[in-house]
Amino acid sequence: MSGTDQAVFTGKARERLEALFPKYPTKPACLLPALWIIQEERGWISPQAMAEIGELLGLTPAYVKGVVTFYTMYHQHPVGRHFIQVCSTSPCHLGGAADTVRALLTHTGCGELGATSPDGRFTVVEVECLGACGFATPILIDDDFIESVTPDRVPGLLERYQ
């Protein structure tokens, strides 16, 4: 992970930001996609990055923080190398999600939800409805959407993420 004191929007990231401008009639509307760029570049969204994007879009740091904290997918702290989101809302709970959650916590070494494993490899969080209720239990590992995850599949799946 790069240092948090360096500007995010230089080089390619700056080009990506500027490519957003024609897509929206106002600059503030570019905030959500710009926050995604920050997270892709840095892994999380630091206060410095919030201030930087605020300045570029004409928004106060407080406003940007208000938006970042509203949406659960933006990380306000560094997370493990691989970020795992597991659905446990009622339809998946009926399909056995609680066992899948337990298996993930055990095999990643995270132990509890929201924690990062001691080796920094994984963070596991519960997430509300992933919109794949017919494929209980769906999980997201980074950007990989994986359906029908049963406890016995967990060790094999994790091996792909070192």
């Binding site: 897509k23 929206y24 009639p25 106002t26 503030p28 509307a29 570019c30 905030l31 959500l32 996609p33 926050l35 995604w36 879009l57 928004l59 208000g66 938006v67 509203f70 949406y71 659960t72 997918m73 933006y74 989101q85 446990s88 809302t89 009622s90 339809p91 709970h93 009926l94 399909g95 997430v127 509300e128 409805c129 992933l130 919109g131 794949a132 209720c133 017919g134 494929f135 209980a136 997201l140 950007d143 990989d144 959407f145």
Partner: protein, 434 residues
């Protein structure tokens, strides 16, 4: 449904015809399957003609509210001199509902084509597709499809040589159920927190960026394509129940059934057949206990209510619930209904935007009281307290998130009171650790 198992003979396969057929994903593949003919036909008609066709089809919004689509389009001003916008709502986040994801991942051009037709009808030159942030695989498929549609002239400054401009921007959400509410969705596109707005003004008057806007669900827009291809009369004739519910609809079935999945049915299809025949019925030795038919935001139906209902807006309303977005959560006799209702309350408490007091406090306290009941620490007055809370969460807030939370809790207590009382009487061991 075509994926992951073949279509059932009792399905009416229209929208889901190419589910499981990866060849339908590309622009050329879609064209080979008759794609983009509907858009060309629509571009040859006036916007009013397209709106009249959709009105005559009887198509109603598939996102949950069931509002007539043609009528919604007709609310857009004519010659306003302002930019108009279409928002395609692909923020599918309703527990139990997983149909839009299938439409986009198998037939992204079906949705793009529907969006373009709608843009023509409402005079919009730009469509924003609001897709939930977690749909990573679907987002990648959609991005490829939009790029291809531009490259092949189905989008851009001169759509198929018609002189009409239609641009499409994919806007990725970032984890907020409430952004599926249309005014919260617009705020989210504008770079704001996803708080719903007070209506009126309605989006057709003052919408995205303050301009006239229509927000439609993915499935609604996809349905416009076969309507333009085959005509309103054909669509309207697809009806097994009340004539106000026409066409086909994707019914997502999940929970404790043998074959969860999406089933495309003619409106008015018997719910009993959907559950026991298409979705394979209960697991061996199990019986049906309850069904939440509309996605999680509607009242729970008893087995008897579900077995005698038809799958349309009116019949389910007669049985005291709502079709909603047709995400059927099927619950058998092995489930702990109190826990499942608690888990839904926890969902709503987590997803409340916290703007309205009745919702912010109501959803949180509902979840806390249910938690205490599940820990074996419930008090005799708790059920009345939950009902009272529910009353104060219904019809009292800017949007219907708190109503949705109250719906399952209140109907659960009314119809399955014994389940709650077992915990209160200490007749059932606690489901949660105190």
């Amino acid at each position: 449904m075509g994926y992951p198992h073949p279509s059932h003979p009792k399905e009416t396969v229209v929208l889901s015809q190419y589910f499981g057929d990866a060849g339908a994903r590309s622009f050329d593949g879609w064209v080979e399957r008759g794609g983009y003919e509907a858009l060309k036909k629509a571009l040859g008609q006036t916007p009013d003609q397209v709106i009249e066709e959709v009105k005559a089809s009887g198509l109603r919004g598939r996102g949950g509210a069931g509002f007539p689509t043609g009528l919604k389009w007709s609310f857009m001003p004519k010659n306003s001199g302002k930019p108009h916008y279409l928002c395609c709502n692909a923020d599918e986040s309703e527990p139990g509902t997983f149909k839009d994801r299938e439409i986009i991942r198998w037939t992204p051009h079906q949705m793009i084509e529907g969006c373009a037709i709608a843009c023509h009808a409402i005079g919009a030159e730009r469509c924003y597709i609001y897709i939930r942030g977690e749909f990573t695989d679907v987002l990648a498929i959609l991005q490829v499809a939009v790029d291809e549609a531009y490259a092949k002239g189905a989008l851009g400054a001169n759509v198929f040589g018609s002189g009409q401009r239609i641009d499409m921007v994919i806007h990725r959400g970032a984890g907020a159920y409430i952004c599926g509410e249309e005014t919260a969705l617009m705020n989210s596109i504008e770079g704001k927190r996803g708080n719903p707005r007070i209506k009126p003004p309605f989006p057709a008057a003052v919408g995205l960026f303050g301009m006239p806007t229509t927000v439609n669900n993915v499935e609604t827009l996809a349905s416009v394509v076969p309507i333009m291809n085959r005509g309103a009369a054909w669509y309207r004739a697809l009806c097994l129940g009340n004539p106000k519910s026409t066409g086909t609809k994707l019914f997502s079935v999940c929970g404790q059934v043998m074959r969860p999945g999406n089933y495309e049915l003619t409106m008015g299809f018997p719910m009993k057949d959907l559950i026991y025949d298409l979705a394979g019925g209960m697991r061996p030795g199990r019986t049906l206990k309850a069904v939440i038919p509309g996605g999680s935001s509607v009242p729970i139906m008893t087995a008897e209510e579900a077995e005698t209902a038809l799958c349309d807006y009116e019949s389910i309303a007669e049985k005291g619930s709502m079709l909603g977005s047709a995400g059927f959560i099927v619950i058998d006799d092995s489930a702990d209904l109190v826990y499942e209702i608690y888990r839904l309350a926890k969902f709503y408490a987590h997803e409340s935007c916290a703007q309205c007091t009745n919702c912010r406090e109501g959803t949180a306290w509902t979840a806390k009281i249910l938690e205490r009941i599940l820990k074996g620490e419930g008090k005799p007055a708790d059920l009345n307290l939950l009902m009272d809370l529910g009353e104060n969460m219904t019809g009292k807030t800017i949007c219907v998130l708190s109503d949705s939370c109250a719906a399952s809790v209140m109907s659960g207590i009314q119809k399955f009171r014994g389940d709650f009382e077992k915990y209160l009487a200490g007749a059932r061991s606690p489901a949660l650790v105190a």
